[in-house]
């Protein structure tokens, strides 16, 4: 990667990648790790490995549709990743329910050859897991993009391809559900 590519913004990089596809690899270096963490927190590290790989393959193939006037590709990439995570919805909810029920989080996953200590979750965490499991996927998507990824409403709207008003209403619903179990001071 030349020094230049680390300075130019994502939009310009994607524009250049139309004729110079290698430029696209810089996006992977910028975002793969954070997208992996986001996916792994939802569906586990192994499924996240696949989601990250597929996200960048899909993004590369769709790069011609990217509006390069947007300097940051982050919402676009998170949107693709979130769509891929949706295919693991049952798994995600199963894991959350397990945590809610038993107090033991099946995530993070143990490495095959490592001894993992799993600390029983606090009550609050169990209740939060239960609340997350019971939300609709769309509400959960919005809540986690805002809470974990610090995205603005505009960015979430762009990521999920929904109107900003929908972002607000989903977030409102999701927070209400979380507030029911956590109490007002947490939100």
């Amino acid at each position: 990667m030349s020094a230049e590519t680390v300075e130019i913004d994502d939009g310009e990089l994607i524009r250049r990648s139309a004729h110079d596809p290698e430029q696209f690899a810089a996006l992977f270096d910028r975002y793969a790790k954070q997208i992996h963490l986001y996916a792994a927190r939802r569906i586990g590290t192994q499924a996240a490995d696949d989601v990250v790989a597929e996200t960048f393959l899909a993004a590369f193939r769709r790069r011609g549709t990217y509006d390069t006037s947007f300097a940051l590709a982050r919402p676009w990439l998170y949107g693709i990743a979130t769509t891929l995570i949706a295919r693991h919805r049952r798994q995600e909810e199963r894991l959350l329910r397990a945590l809610s029920r038993t107090g033991v989080d099946p995530l993070p996953e143990a490495l095959a050859d490592a001894v993992t200590h799993r600390v029983a979750a606090q009550d609050r965490e169990r209740e939060l897991a239960g609340a997350l499991a019971s939300m609709s996927r769309g509400d959960r998507d919005v809540l986690l993009l805002v809470a974990w990824e610090d995205m603005s409403y505009d960015e979430v709207a762009r990521a999920l391809d929904i109107p900003v008003g929908t972002v607000r209403s989903r977030l409102h619903r999701a927070r209400k559900k979380a507030r029911n179990v956590l109490g007002d001071e947490e939100l």
Partner: protein, 334 residues
């Protein structure tokens, strides 16, 4: 938001090996126009059967080892007989081969062979190493055959698989079908087939939504072939799969079917409008030999990125299992 922000904050970061594998897949896609596609993938793609699990789940075009299941399923399932049905002549003159009367008997014999397998059960941390020869071509045009040797490692627990690409060991998450789930008691032929159907339908509901609650026999045969080809399975599970195969609608027995390395065997066979497929067993020991299939009809797929690809009738593929051994580590050869 603090409680939510903290939730699972300690999740481990992406491993270097996972990052390398994902980046390698991207670089492969980036370089495709220049260097052409990886041969194994080409082979799978030329057969034009969409992978039942991984590739379908991903909805992406086949790209080589990345699509572990895609590749293996497509080759195993799309498979057809290189020279067409006429070559599958019945040849009952081999003295070492007691003729199999019907597909139920084939299932029973294969099941008993699996049950009597003296190989000790591996430890959960071990891996199954498999080496496969793959040939793809076009009926009646042997010069166009492509040959490929494909080595892979699948963890005994089914959760991970690995392969070498450009000298580096790459890893990928596991198959859709969890072997532990198949091994849950009671293990019965109808039960294991039912569990596979349920997994396929579940996958379909989350992904492409093409199946309308019904798993086509060809897809079921693909899934079973895939498990038998490169997943370690407890003997009772393997036996139940073999006893379950004859219960899949349309499956018959065909004798003297060749696999990629020239061996011939007795096969579970299935023909539908799209393809003719064989899962071939040794006629004496009833161990797994390989697969053989032919695409019967042109088929155009529209992939997730909107591009289209057409697979031609007459494309054929054969595989042969050259080795299948338990090893301690991925990347280790017996």
């Amino acid at each position: 938001m603090s409680a939510i922000k903290e939730f699972r904050r300690s999740t481990p970061a992406m491993t270097a090996e996972a990052a390398d594998a994902a980046r390698a897949r991207l670089m492969e896609a980036i370089h495709q126009p220049e260097k052409g596609r990886e041969r194994g993938a080409t082979a799978a793609r030329r057969l034009g059967l969409r992978a039942a699990t991984s590739a379908r789940r991903l909805g992406l075009r086949a790209s080589a080892p990345a699509r572990r299941l895609g590749l293996r399923v497509a080759v195993a399932a799309a498979l057809a007989l290189a020279a067409g049905a006429s070559v599958v002549a019945l040849r009952d003159d081999r003295p070492d081969m007691a003729p199999v009367a019907g597909v139920a008997e084939l299932g029973e014999r294969a099941a008993r062979a699996a049950e009597n397998d003296p190989t000790p059960a591996p430890r959960p941390t071990q891996w199954l190493y498999t080496k496969e020869l793959q040939i793809t071509g076009v009926e009646g045009d042997a010069d166009r055959d492509q040959r490929d040797t494909w080595e892979r490692w699948t963890s005994v627990d089914g959760k991970r698989s690995a392969w070498y690409q450009g000298g580096k060991l790459m890893f990928q998450g596991g198959a859709v079908m969890d072997p532990a789930e198949l091994a849950e008691a009671p293990v019965t032929p109808a039960g294991v087939i039912g569990r596979i159907e349920a997994a396929v339908l579940d996958e379909d509901r989350r992904g492409p939504g093409e199946l309308d609650g019904h798993v086509p026999p060809a897809t079921l045969l693909m899934e079973v072939s895939q498990l038998i080809t490169d997943q370690w399975l407890a003997p009772d599970v393997r036996a139940a799969l073999f006893r379950g195969l004859p219960t899949i609608k349309g499956i018959t027995v065909t004798r003297d079917v060749p696999v990629a390395d020239g061996r011939r065997g007795v096969a579970f066979s299935l023909a539908d409008a799209e393809a003719r497929s064989y899962l071939v067993l040794d006629p004496a020991t009833f161990r797994y030999l390989g697969t053989n299939s032919t695409r019967l009809k042109d088929r155009t797929y529209t992939w997730a990125d909107g591009s289209k690809e057409t697979f031609k009738a007459g494309t054929t593929g054969q595989t042969a299992q050259l080795e299948a051994r338990i090893v301690d580590r991925p990347g280790q050869r017996p």
